[in-house]
Structure formats: C-alpha cells, structure tokens
Amino acid sequence: MSRIATALTIADPEGFYAELLAVHDALSPEASAALNARLILLLANQVGDRAVLSEALQEAARGSDTAG
C-alpha cells in the first residue's frame, strides 16, 4: 500500500524547481549538502507521518539503478 503521493501536489512545479536550484547558486558542494540536510529535516517535520517518511526514504534509497 503506497502512502506517498506520486501524482503532482505542488502548484507551479517549474517555479518550485527553479527556486530549489536558486538557493544552491554559488554554494560549494559542502554548503549545498548542508543546505539539503536542513531542507530535508524541515520538510520531514512538515510531513510528520512516520510511515510516509519511511516510504519516502526507501523510495529515495532505490536511487537511479531501478529507474527507467
């Protein structure tokens, strides 16, 4: 049973994507990694639901090898 959203839930997805890239502009790889870590924690707290978080972690851990 899938709990994570697979259909689009974000209004203005292209605008969000551009904003996501913009906050990383001019950052070193370390600073980008640090920003991503903070972002993940903020978003995870926003999601809250432990089962959804576990599923998202597993989905992310699948990486690119099974994609396509």
């Binding site: 990694a33 640090a34 991503n36 870590a37 903070r38 993940i40 924690l41 903020l42 707290n45």
Partner: protein
Amino acid sequence: MQHDEDPIRYPYRRVADQDASHPVRHPVVVAGAGLVGLVTALDLAGRGVPVVVLDAGEGVSAGSRAMCFARRSLEILGRLGCAEAAVAAGIPWHAGRVHHGPDVICGVEHGPEAGQRRPAFLNLPQAQLEAILVARLRALADAGAPVSLRGANRIIAVGTHPDHVRLEVETPEGPYSLHADWLVACDGANSSVRRMMALGFPGRGYEDAFLIADVAMDSDAPAERMFWFDPPFNPGRSALLHRQPGNLWRIDLQIGADADAAAELAPDRVLPRLRAMLGGQARFTVESLAIYRFHCRRMERFVHGRVLFAGDAAHQVSPFGARGANSGIQDADNLGWKLAAVIAGAAPELLESYNWERGLAAEENIQAAARASDFITPRSDASRAFRDAVLTLAGRHPFAREMVNTGRMAEPCTYDDGPLNGPDAAGLPGRTRPGAAAVDVPCAGGWLLDRLPQGFALLAIDADAPEAGLPVLRLGSAGHGALAAAWTGAGGGVVALLRPDGHVAARWHTAAGTPTPGDIAAALATAGGTS
C-alpha cells in the same frame, strides 16, 4: 570483619577455605566487587542467601569512571539501605544545557523534582558509591549475615559442572579452590570468567578517543549537564562538563580518531586543552586523567548453566546517557530475588527470565548509546551534515531540539511482553503496566517503595485485595494525587501484584471486578512466585 575499617580498602586476609583439605562449597560466589558485584551481594544477603565476593583488587575502583546515577538506581539502593548515604554525599541534578559553537541552543529537562523522593540524577564518583556499599556489606556481616568480601582473590580458572562451578583462586599466599552452586560473574568489561569460558562479546567499537579528566576547581557554575558541539575550545568535536561533589568537575573531551593515548596524557598536551575549555582565569588541579575509546557490545546470553553474567561483564555501552553502571545495578536487582528463589527450590527456568528481561534492557541501552555515539561522533560526511543541520535548526526550531542527542539519559527498562507478566487491565496508567518498575509516590505513612512488603506482595489502592497468602499494602488515593495519577488513573481501584524487585507483575482494575484468589495465584505462578 570490623566495621570501623576504611571502606575504600578491603585488604587480603587469609580465610579458613584456604586451609581446607577439600574445596569448600558455597551457595553463591560473586566474581568482582565493582558496583554490580556489591549490589548483587547486598541483595542476596538481604534475602538470607550466603554469599562470598571475590575481588582481584584490594579496594574500590580507581580513576575517572561512573559518576552519574539515575533515580531507579537510587530506588534500588534505597531498598538495600544505601540511598541516604549516597544522596547525602552526591550532587543532585535534573537539567542540562546544550551548546553549538559559541551559542546555547537548548536546555534539557530530565524530569521534574516536584513530588519525587529521589533526584532524577545524582553525581557521585563510582569509588565513593562502592565505599558506601562496602560499608553496608560490613555492617550486615557484623550483624551476622553470611556475607563476606575477599580482597586480592583473583579467579584464575573456572570449571563448569552440571551442579556446581569449580573456581581456582589466586592470592598473595598462593592459590586455593572453591566450589560454588552458582557463580555470578560481575568481573567487568574484560571479564576473565567470560574469557575462561570462551564466550563471545560481539558488538561495535568507536574510533574516536575521549580524554576523561577530573579536575578540582572552585566554581559557582550550576549543577547542570553541560554539553558542547563544536565549541571554540575544541573545534569540530564535542565536550561534556559535569559537577561532582567536593568542587570536583568531570570533563569529557572528544580528541579524535588518531589520538595517541600516551602523547595526549602528557601535561603539555592536556593542560592547554583544559585551560582552553575552563578559561584562562580558572584555577584548577588535575585529579585524574584517562583516555577511553568506547564500545557497545553484549553477550548473546547472560545465563550459562550455573554461571550468570551481570553488569559490564554481560554488556557494555558508551557512557553517553549513563547507562553502564545504572543498567548493571538493575541487573543485580533483577537477578537477586530470582537466584534466591531458585536456591530455595524454585525451578531454575526462572533464571531464563533474567536472561530475557535484562537482555531486553541491554538491547535498549545499546540502541540508545549507539544512536548517541553516532550523533556525537558522526561516522560519515552525510551523518555529519545531518547532525550539523539538526544543531543549526535547533537554535531556531523546537522540533529540531528533540533530535539533538547528547545521550538519552538512563531510564529503567519496562519488561513489556516479558515472560513473567500476567494480566493487564484497560484504563489504568501506562507508567505502572506489567513489566514496569513501581512508581514511587507519597502515600499514607511515607513513600510507596518503603511501605511495600519484601518479596511478592499485593498493592490494593481504593480496592479490596482477596486473601491469597500474600502480604497486602492497602492504600487510599484520597488526598494523594500523585498516587492516583501513577496507579489508578481516572477512577476505580487497582490491585497490583508486585515482584520482589518492585516491578509490576500483573494488575486488575476494580471497574472490571476484583480479582479472585485464583486469578492472583495464576499470576503469581506466571511471575515465578509461590504463595
């Protein structure tokens, strides 16, 4: 033994066993007079079981080791008549403060004091607590209890047999042999009993070294647990500062994976580190120094026939959270009554519940200590990035403060789904469910734990307890809000069956009817007792 002897020493003395033509047989031999061996001996002696404690050394432990004892340990020590002396000698505390870089990011509260008899935590050097236990053991022996402590008695060989254990003991006057019906191995993390029985101690070691120092210093800083991540005086690493009695301060400084112990202990390395931490003006003297690398590991089983492992011999954790000695004291509390029961004729299977219950506790403690170690000493770039993200966010957002892990402080283990647990009843407070340690609260005539009868007992609050051949403590909750909050909850009465270690075995809510004598007998049988 004379009770006016200095309790920090237990020098070698020749005993009759050494001159016997055949090995003398004892019901219980305890290997090791560390905290866990001493608590085990006091518990067994209090139950009338004769016990001989053998220690390789001739006095209490040296150097900087445990110093932080949790409320549950104090409750157990209270049952053994040692809590008042410990509390009088120690520094109580319940709050902590966490720094990141130069800033304070959050305070930590470890349980309010109001309505509590014992402090959440007590800081007291391990050696001082051991001395209190040695003094108590001598007082019992002077009063005729069959308990003795033999210094400079090192166990050098263990032979296991179906009905006894044979020990070879080395002394300054040569070796002698002993037979024990039961051997309780409390001989520490490098347990020689474990090694001689070729038993494993699997787990994880951590690369980072820590400098542990006790310094004497006049300071009016509060008795709080102060933790630093990445402080200016130890960049990229952590530090911990704790107040101990007598103007003594405990410092834990992370010094990295490559640290060379001998070089780091040289005064020209140590003093600048300490001066940077304590400030240029601080006047201090170094009382003891050590370098440690920490481990989280456990024996697969704590029960091996007639040899029972407890304390660091059975399991070892990194010290963040103060779970080492505190859990070892609970091992002794759990084992004592069971071993006494088996010696009195109960089926030895009761000892399997020691393995189960304290194995569960060891798992909990290892998980908590391993998570704290991973947070304090991140293992990879990714874990460091998340750790630093938590610390950065914690300054601004309450949710992230909950993820800051400087060591989850020791809590007593609740033996949920344990083999000795009997029925539970809906609608009663979770804190006193079967498997939990009884919650101490004020009640008529003093404190609940003081008023509990020894051995198995029934606690009946706002309820009638049936005649079941057990002593009963009857209490009313009127005017005792804490008693009601911990034990009866929203209304109605409760009958609880309590084990000799003060853990709840079973409970009934009078809303669903008073338990019958048969209900109680069944729960008692499940819990390993006889009426």
